[in-house]
């Protein structure tokens, strides 16, 4: 049995290698010397062969491909393939992205295989064993975790934390791993569906006025639409107002909806859930108004005000 210190499970979406997979290579690089052994990256599924070449150009020791009897992601099959990889390589640490697909198969695998487990980590180090950091309670607290008595630990890593690895000086070898699994697909793919674009494209707006949970009454929404119009801004929203059905999903900013890069992003009553921040942190200038001085949005905003959003809205109306 070979000893692979770190095993990375790469991810594709509709045939494309996802950036977070490369970030995992960077994360692995940062600890592999302390973990010991090598870095392997595995591509599971029908796209495995097509992304193996791309992965081999990065600083890893080996790229493994695993075929599965499914044309699409399927949690039970992915868990079985990952289990076979762990049996083959005996890694101390397994890394996947904290993504919707990983949320499907990674905890399932950790549960059935008795792995150490932590999700959505933002930092890791290895001294006599793994320690990780993750953010909890709406990003307001930092939890540090350890994994006593676990020979193999599986963690899902928050996208956008570790950055991209440099290209390797020599290409990694590629190996196919045949998996003889009795696991059958439990779900059947029907289709991919894209959300409707709507009349307004917030991804091309220069100035977004974005409202969030601080707006607690649907009757207040038109007021902010009017304020946006008077300021020359386009109205957008964080998730809660869309979940409530007060605004169409085409106006949503966040991981599952739109990623925006306006020159100015004015956030009124948005606390800054991680999924929201992923959709707007690349805005040129971020201004946030929130009544909670500990709101995580102040961690990414350039300008902030701890204030009642309705009082600020009223003052803006008077000036606009």
């Amino acid at each position: 049995m070979t000893l692979a210190g770190v095993l990375i499970l790469a991810e594709t979406r509709r045939g494309e290698l996802r950036d977070v997979s490369l970030e995992l290579i960077k994360a692995a690089e940062s600890v592999v010397e302390d973990v010991g052994g090598s870095v392997s990256v595995a591509a599971i599924g029908p796209d495995a062969n097509s992304i193996a070449d791309a992965l081999a150009a990065y600083p890893v020791d080996e790229v493994l491909t695993v075929d599965v009897p499914s044309t699409h992601f399927e949690a039970a099959l992915w868990a079985a393939a990952a289990e076979a990889l762990i049996d083959e390589l005996n890694p101390s640490l397994v890394l996947c992205g904290h993504t919707v697909d990983s949320m499907g198969f990674a905890p399932r695998l950790a549960a059935t295989k008795g792995l150490g487990f932590a999700a959505d980590i933002v930092g890791l180090e290895w001294t006599d064993g793994l320690r990780v950091r993750r953010l909890t309670y709406g990003q307001k607290l930092v939890a540090e975790l350890e994994f006593p008595e676990r020979r193999c630990v599986l963690v899902t890593v928050r996208p956008g934390i570790f950055g991209m690895p440099p290209p390797a000086t020599r290409r990694a070898r590629i190996r196919e791993l045949a998996v003889d699994s009795h696991e059958k697909p439990r779900t059947t793919h029907v289709s991919f569906v894209e959300s409707p674009r709507g009349d307004v494209d917030i991804t091309s707006a220069d100035f977004l006025l974005s409202i969030g949970r601080g707006v607690t009454d649907p009757g207040e929404v038109p007021r902010f639409a009017e304020l946006a119009r008077r300021l020359g801004a386009t109205l957008s929203s964080s998730r809660p107002l869309i979940d409530a059905g007060w605004l169409p999903s085409s106006l949503g900013v966040g991981q599952s909806s739109n990623t925006v890069k306006p020159r100015v992003y004015l956030a009124l009553g948005i606390s800054g859930a991680v999924q929201h921040l992923a959709g707007m942190r690349q805005a040129g200038t971020i201004i946030a108004v929130n009544s909670d001085p500990h709101a995580p949005i102040f961690g990414v905003a350039h300008y902030g005000a701890v204030a009642d959003l309705f009082a600020v809205a009223e003052a803006l109306e008077a000036l606009a």
């Binding site: 949690a75 905890p107 950790a110 549960a111 487990f117 607290l141 930092v142 809660p240």
Partner: protein
């Protein structure tokens, strides 16, 4: 059809969070508590599904792991229309990690012959997004994570799982199955005073670890991690704060906007 909904009581995040001595957790006595938002949507989906079915015996069962305080969380679900509840607790579970919690919930459900298990895609406090998928693993059930639409024709479930970047994937599967539910799956209902009163009469069973065939050491052995510390983060780079009253704040905002939009 019997549908189980897994719910968790969490601290309201708008509150100032007080840490227990030694950073072992958040002090629940200093926080306002509520049903995890994602679980509230899972309950909503379960109630809609139950009420859409043809005549027959259909039931929504609410299961939570938590101490006496969590009783209120189950009662609020009963008030919204769930039929009965189970609360499972043992003091040994106070520091249970996500896999240990999943093991306890799985054992609790094992005796209930449920056709469908719904739970929130994540909790607002721990935010691991892992409990449901781990429960499905322990129970060897088919499952789909982060679901934003559920349809059932009597034999096949058609669900839409929400992916990143405005895309959803529609898949089908057959019960028994577990689905983790995303927020916004349907508008949330509110319980009326009459329903809240009636909920006090609905059955709420309290169980311990032994009742579900577990003991403290088995649960400890399942744990995937151990909490070393919980701390307030060091304040890193933060926004430049605008002072003054709301008029001063508004005036500065407009200045910044004009400056940036002109540049």
């Amino acid at each position: 059809m019997r549908i189980a909904v897994l719910v968790k009581q969490v601290a309201v995040l708008d509150d100032e969070l007080e840490l227990l001595d030694g950073g072992r957790g958040v002090d629940p006595d200093c926080a306002e508590l509520e049903v995890n938002e994602w679980d509230a949507f899972a309950l909503e989906a379960a109630l809609i599904l139950r009420d859409s079915m043809a005549e027959g015996s259909h039931e929504v069962l609410v299961v939570t792991m938590g101490d006496e305080r969590a009783e209120e969380c189950v009662r609020s679900c009963l008030a919204k229309g769930a039929d009965r509840g189970i609360r499972i607790w043992d003091d040994a579970l106070a520091e249970a990690d996500v896999l240990a919690v999943a093991r306890v919930l799985a054992a609790t459900l094992a005796g209930e012959a449920v056709d469908l298990i719904l739970c929130g895609a994540q909790s607002s406090d721990e935010a691991s997004g892992a409990t449901g998928s781990a429960v499905a693993g322990f129970l060897e059930l088919a499952h789909v994570a982060v679901v934003k639409q559920i349809g059932f024709d009597g034999s096949v479930l058609t669900v839409s799982r929400e992916l990143e970047g405005r895309v959803a994937e529609v898949v089908t599967l057959e019960p028994p199955a577990l689905l983790t539910v995303q927020t916004g799956i349907a508008p949330l209902r509110h319980a009326t005073l009459r329903e809240i009163k009636r909920a006090r009469e609905k059955p709420l069973e309290v169980k311990g670890l032994l009742d579900v065939g577990l003991d403290a050491s088995t649960v400890a052995g399942v744990a995937g991690s151990r909490l070393v510390s919980l701390t307030h983060p060091e304040t890193g780079e933060r926004a430049q704060m605008l002072g003054g009253d709301s008029h001063a704040v508004a005036a500065r905002i407009l200045e910044i906007v004009h400056d940036r939009m002109a540049g």
